[in-house]
Symmetry: C2
Subunit: 553 residues, 2 copies
Amino acid sequence: MTKQNTVRITPLGGIGEVGKNMTVIEYADEMIVIDCGLCFPREDMLGVDYVIPDISYLRKNKEKIKAVLITHGHEDHIGATPYLLTDIGAPVYGTDLSLALIETKLAERKIDGLNLNIIRPGDVLNLGTFRVETVKVTHSIDAAVGYAIHTPAGTIVHTGDFKVDYTPVDGKIMDLGKFAELGKKGVLALLSDSTNAETPGFTMSESKVGETFENYFKKAEGRIIVATFASNIHRLQQVFEASKRFGRKVCLSGRSMLKIAKVATELGYLAFNEDILVEPEDLEKMKKNKIVILTTGSQGETMSGLVRMAAGEHKKLAMIPGDLVIISATPIPGNERYVSDVINMLYRKGADVINEGVADVHVSGHACEEELKMMLSIVKPKYFIPVHGEYRHLYRHAALAESVGIKKSNIFIPEIGKVIEIGKKFSRFSETVPSGTVIIDGLGVGDVGNVVLRDRRLLSQDGLFIVVVTISSETGELISGPDIVSRGFVYMRESTDLLDGARNIVIEVVQECEKNKVSEWTTIKNRIKKALRSYLYDNTKRNPMILPIIIDI
Amino acid sequence: MTKQNTVRITPLGGIGEVGKNMTVIEYADEMIVIDCGLCFPREDMLGVDYVIPDISYLRKNKEKIKAVLITHGHEDHIGATPYLLTDIGAPVYGTDLSLALIETKLAERKIDGLNLNIIRPGDVLNLGTFRVETVKVTHSIDAAVGYAIHTPAGTIVHTGDFKVDYTPVDGKIMDLGKFAELGKKGVLALLSDSTNAETPGFTMSESKVGETFENYFKKAEGRIIVATFASNIHRLQQVFEASKRFGRKVCLSGRSMLKIAKVATELGYLAFNEDILVEPEDLEKMKKNKIVILTTGSQGETMSGLVRMAAGEHKKLAMIPGDLVIISATPIPGNERYVSDVINMLYRKGADVINEGVADVHVSGHACEEELKMMLSIVKPKYFIPVHGEYRHLYRHAALAESVGIKKSNIFIPEIGKVIEIGKKFSRFSETVPSGTVIIDGLGVGDVGNVVLRDRRLLSQDGLFIVVVTISSETGELISGPDIVSRGFVYMRESTDLLDGARNIVIEVVQECEKNKVSEWTTIKNRIKKALRSYLYDNTKRNPMILPIIIDI
């Protein structure tokens, strides 16, 4: 399928969405996969746990895959590994932290025997025809990298998620020199993070948050509770630094906080003196101004530490009037309501709340307009493919690329599954490969589809209305019923008239069918449905799901 | 109940929420009600249309109510009038525009015979013991007022929703002088709009948006589509002005846009030359740079003009590559996702999109911190009650009041239904009156409650699983079934093993019951439920609603 000297780039996720990032780079009969992420379901995907990419294309081409390269350890880049890596089988490369987080996931699902290979930023990998360079970037999780994939057709640069932070907490800035060097040698195509393409200017440095922490730690007279993403290890480090500086002890709360702090400490990404830690049980006897609680829940997640504390449902920790709560995060789109709920609860418990609207307690992990233009300017790619973002972000990123001189005809706004073919002298959208979304719900991977989701949506709106009629298989006569069971439609006890009316309508339909010798069940059911639908709608202006069940005896 | 010289203030809505504003002011045996709003349901109130206040308290005290005073014509202040005004019966006072919008609502529901009385800002009403002054405020809808209610116990000032706009589009600024005069004479209590209490500084003037429009209208080479709230008449006026200035015609789209433009024009709030209007049918033959489409849909509402255009589902209007779409609004919390969806669709149709992140195409209608402090400073109330907002806003507003010198003990953070009693020498929270929320779903007002909503939530998560067994009423023997019907749980055709297993479990339970002479239906049903629940959960990690139905013959 591939022409000589042509590289094929196919996103299997992360396009038109924030999440489930996965991209395939293909040359001749060899493939490299970048990232293996999951996505949290949209609100209208009722009851769904996660969404992962459809990797039929990779399954079909298993033997071609030389490697899965991981850019960093966020869920939208590694979350699908427990579901997909065993299928793909290829060796996985990532930094120590990324792989440690993958291993935690695999362990939870009792998956082992995978071929995980630790790389360090700067490492060069020879993977079949591909020569891959690992380039350090800064992001809201440590040990993040981008990749330069050298193919016979040219070099493809994938930034991964990044921001340009000149004063990162660990002092290790991203390898802009390497990106510039790649640009100088010539880059065929750049794939770059579009998440913040709508935001003007530069993203603030992570260090800025540390300054804000210091200001509040200096003034606070009671306990301080900081809620943040557990994976933002530099953020955790800054909480430890401020606590130490102002003589406070730190109590860690939340399952993922404990888990990630452990992993990050073992790998040396998080450093603190063990003495600074206290257990929840010890807080009561301590002075309030000596306490910091570092917890999950910055997105208002129901089961998180902060929310359980705010709701008074935490087993070991309770809010105390005078607590200062710092929510060190921005609500992810869709979570605004939940975050607002927890803020309201906190105020009612007598806490004061500092969030992003009030002070610089959070900075983004993604590059804004000027940083994106910088990346485009130093990498100077011939072709540009904005990735990681909704379409609004991809189009804005494309406009930025045009503004720094990339030819409009050389910019591809990608689609999931649509192959972009780039050769030395041409480029085009080629065929669309099998792709899409796979839904994870409980133990089921892919067994919930559109029909099930449509039914859940219908049920969620006006509930259901079940009618059971027992009919004589000989005469078609009504033997028993109609029995009506309804849920989520009306309050049954106060709707006896409505239900009596419905029963009479069903009796009429069945008798009519008997009289006219209609014995086909499907027909009888459809007639019951039709009659009931208009009766119920006329009386309530609601459309419950109507389920006629016929039992023949 | 009321002590001599004591005024009672009781919010029946609008506290801890943005919506369904309603407040009762009571002195001796007389009452005044301010506003009668609705609230849009939270996402977890599945299938619900609207939420209105529970007015049992007003129903019980009908004869005491001297008036319902309307501050302005937004849904959260007038939306419940069709449901509640006939119950209350009292005369309603509001400005011409507010009442015209109420009349439109009443007409839609064929309600007439109400006692509606037009007032103008500055009017003084004598309503029983109460003397009420009407004070002009500026807001994102025209003809908005606040009220000063003079009682023998002192003066209560209610700002209504407001912002301080020194350059409103019609040149009529709010009556700050009257608020200052009231303050000078002495105000017992101030109730003030808290919506923007978290936002520092001042709200920008509506005129600012006009400048932004001019900039884009000047440059645009294709059609311009402006989406905004139909009720923001000054915003509409500015679109007409800019269109006129740059020689463009205006096509109005969206049911509420047409409705409100008509009402506002009749009352003289919106002024334009009829010639400027064009019908959708005429657009095709016009030059693109002569066209403005003014439409609803700024919140991404499914059935709105903009969304139908973006989705290619509008009967008369379609997007054209090169269209410039100005979304002149901020997403209301909870609508972010829908607005984002429509922006993504617009980009994919080849349009360019300007929204609040990109340019000053929207300003809020609510006062920010500095304006709120100004209001507090000129009214100088003895007691302060922050209203209209979630708790986070009320607490912030309380802090602002403290910062300008109101005593903490004189600030009441209200609760819905909790009576605040204020006398000359004392103040306290008194009893709680019947209050809460009434759900409107289709034709039903209040017939959907917590049980129905809980069932809808359950059904929405993992669907349902119905088992019908026909049992001999004599022997308890299984005559027919179990028949299984399931929706929203698993894809039935691919789950035959699971269903066979479930059937066997039900048979076992029924046989066990028969053997042990258990004939109580509730017991049999519960045993079936219990056995199925653990079977289904073990096999799927899902918990569908299980509905056993027993038919006896």
